[in-house]
């Protein structure tokens, strides 16, 4: 039985703006689900509806097997970690974490036990009698998590908790959150706009766009088998390259015509799948990591192209190369030792086993 269940959830604000247009989602017990998408896609609104901080316009939300539409937040057995931590400034760390328990009239000994345990998990032991203003950003975020842990709820809700931290701290806290989940194993719904966080933390990722779910699946599945152009372009950094092209017959199979000079053969196993798009304009999707320096990938369906380099970005562990193909700027990732110079031609290997064909009108991946 699912721990959290969203059924046809719709949220429309006054003035008719539909922030969430009908979401269906089943979240299993102990699962770590990440809602990811650009600003305004409705992920935070969805989370807040699960929390009970926003009312549903229509649809149902079930938590732990019970319908919670009319249930106030305090009775939903949830805990939430906010982007701005929302720590009570006039209480010290211990009281911040104990607040919810005190309200529910837990015995003092039990409160101490739970707070100490959470403090142990999050390394907050020495900070228990400090006030929030004496804590750093990362420490405050851990206190906010501690406040959630002591409640031992059915579901953790995270609302972009790392957005206010600097880059390095974000990476450290990401690891902390993952470790906490492995220890405490509570069902978690985590909202972020950062796809790296989504990929590294999630058991399943829910990609949202403009109030709707584009795709749900484990991170690797979203990476390798995106269902829409949006998901393909959202997951992965640097983003996937999208090149307008034409599918045409070649030999016994198909080929992709990117420009007059560049015609790439489609892997034979896909001929049937793509057959009906022959002679039509389509979009080719290929990730930069699959456009490398000339090397033997040990597989068939790797072709060579030799475009003129435009911009070179040495990143240290790899070099990003940018070049034009028929009016589209394309990005590739090459070995840092490979000779890449702006203005010169450079041979690249394109691994077409990882190509995607995208319908230009509705963005669906074929």
């Amino acid at each position: 039985m699912s721990q959290v269940s969203l059924r046809s959830v719709v949220k429309a604000f006054e003035g008719g703006v539909q922030a969430v247009k009908g979401i269906d989602l089943e979240i299993e017990d102990e699962e770590f689900v990440v809602l990811v998408g650009p600003s305004g896609c409705g992920k935070s609104t969805t989370l807040r509806m699960v929390a009970g901080l926003e009312e549903l316009t229509s649809g149902e939300i079930w938590i732990g097997g019970g319908l919670v539409n009319d249930v106030p937040p305090r009775d939903r057995d949830i805990a939430m970690v906010f982007q701005n931590y929302a720590l009570y400034p006039h209480m010290n760390v211990f009281d911040n974490m104990a607040f919810g328990l005190k309200l529910r009239k837990f015995p003092v000994a039990e409160i101490k036990r739970r707070v100490d345990k959470a403090a142990g998990i999050l390394h907050l032991g020495e900070l228990l009698d400090r006030k929030p203003k004496a804590l750093s950003g990362g420490q405050r975020q851990r206190v906010a998590m501690g406040r959630a842990i002591v409640r031992d709820p059915k579901v953790f809700l995270f609302d972009e908790p790392l957005s206010n931290l600097d880059a390095k701290l974000r990476v450290d806290m990401r690891t902390e959150i993952k470790k906490v989940h492995q220890t405490v194993r509570t069902t978690t719904i985590y909202v972020t706009h950062d796809q790296v966080e989504a990929m590294t933390l999630a058991d399943r990722v829910v990609v949202m766009n403009q109030g709707e779910i584009e795709q749900v699946g484990p991170p690797q599945e979203l990476y390798h088998k995106p269902l829409t152009r949006f998901v393909a372009g959202f997951i992965g950094s640097p983003a996937m390259n999208f090149l307008p092209c034409r599918l045409q017959a070649a030999g016994g199979g198909l080929a992709i015509r990117l420009s007059d000079e560049i015609i790439l053969p489609v892997p034979p196993e896909r001929t049937e799948r793509y057959a009906r798009y022959k002679d039509q304009p389509v979009t080719l999707g290929i990730r930069p990591e699959h456009m490398t320096e000339l090397r033997d990938h040990g597989r068939p369906n790797v072709v060579r192209i030799e475009p003129v380099m435009d911009v070179i970005e040495p990143m240290g562990m790899e070099t990003l190369v940018h070049f034009w193909i028929d009016g589209t700027l394309v990005c590739g990732r090459v070995d840092p030792a490979a000779p890449a110079n702006a203005g010169q031609k450079m041979p690249l290997s394109v691994d077409l086993n990882h190509m995607h064909l995208i319908e230009p009108e509705d963005g669906r991946v074929v």
Partner: protein, 313 residues
């Protein structure tokens, strides 16, 4: 598996849970609780401000015995009286002169305070605010004593340096002077505090940019300080106009309208007519003469404040 894009489930539109009775739901609503929490305020404002306000208007339209309606007769009667014409004159003179003085002196004081280091400001501010802190009725009492015809300490000092004694409260114009002086003494600290706070909020960079552009001190005042402080200045001036216009304590204690009713203002005249002489409707009419000024000033204050909150973002 439920992977993939939107799937429209076949559930009927929302399995509606059992509803509580309408009354209980209304009580549980958040906005209801908000309303209940504001209820005491509404009661106080409604019952003790709005209702008396309307009642005052009703009263002013009645005859002395409050038995029947006489329309604007009371207002006409008042306007015919010489004393009342003096009241209008005196109230306007007092309010405008005092407010202008308070604003200018307060502004100057704020600048002086702004010049000295912040730590010392606290000490100076502590002393300069004292006129405002002492209850007005009591400090006016001291002023009365200082202006006493026979015992005035001011006269003693004047005599000491060879000047004649001044009939402080005995002569109409001197009495007016004293009233304005006392009100200025009382109200200037308020202006100073407000302007000091406003001065502190003007970014230093504006002055620096003006200095680089070659502005003199006076030009900085005109081009940077006054425009930035415009809103605060207008709000404080309007607010003080209302309060000064309606002043009771100073007039009552210093002169009680004397000598010979030449220094009465609306508040004290209304008191004399309404409470002391017992003509309640006429007294209400006197008070109501303040209404136009109050309304206009309030309107501009409200506009100024909403403007301010818009500027803040």
């Amino acid at each position: 598996m439920a992977e993939g894009t939107i799937s429209i489930t076949a559930l009927p539109a929302a399995r509606i849970p059992a509803r509580r009775s309408p009354m209980r739901r209304w009580l549980g609503h958040r906005s209801t609780m908000g309303f209940l929490m504001a209820l005491p305020l509404i009661a106080v404002v409604g019952g003790l401000v709005v209702y008396p306000g309307i009642y005052a208007i009703a009263l002013s339209l009645m005859d002395r015995r409050m038995t029947h309606f006489v329309g604007l007769h009371n207002f006409a009667r008042l306007l015919e009286r010489n004393t009342f014409q003096l009241v209008i004159f005196q109230s306007c003179l007092f309010a405008i002169t005092a407010v202008v003085l308070k604003a200018i002196i307060g502004f100057a004081l704020a600048h002086l305070m702004h010049n000295i280091p912040t730590r010392k400001q606290r000490a100076f501010r502590g002393f300069l605010l004292i006129p405002w802190v002492i209850p007005l009725a009591l400090s006016t009492l001291v002023w009365w004593w200082l202006f006493d015809p026979s015992y005035s300490a001011f006269n003693w000092a004047l005599n000491k340096i060879g000047l004649a004694s001044v009939p402080w409260l005995g002569q109409p114009w001197w009495a007016r002077f004293c009233m304005i002086w006392v009100n200025t003494w009382f109200g200037t600290p308020f202006f100073m505090i407000m302007y000091l706070a406003a001065l502190k909020s003007v970014p230093e960079q504006l002055y620096e940019a003006a200095a680089i552009d070659g502005a003199s001190a006076i030009q900085k005042l005109y081009l940077v300080t006054l425009p930035m402080l415009r809103n605060v200045i207008s709000i404080t001036v309007l607010f003080s106009l209302i309060v000064t216009f309606a002043n009771f304590d100073i007039v009552r204690i210093l002169t009680n309208g004397g000598p010979l009713n030449t220094t009465h203002m609306f508040a004290t005249y209304a008191f004399q007519i309404g409470i002391q002489s017992g003509d309640i409707p006429l007294g209400a009419a006197v008070s109501l003469f303040m209404l136009p000024i109050l309304a206009i000033a309030s309107y501009f204050i409200l506009r100024g404040i909403t403007q301010r909150s818009k500027d803040a973002y």
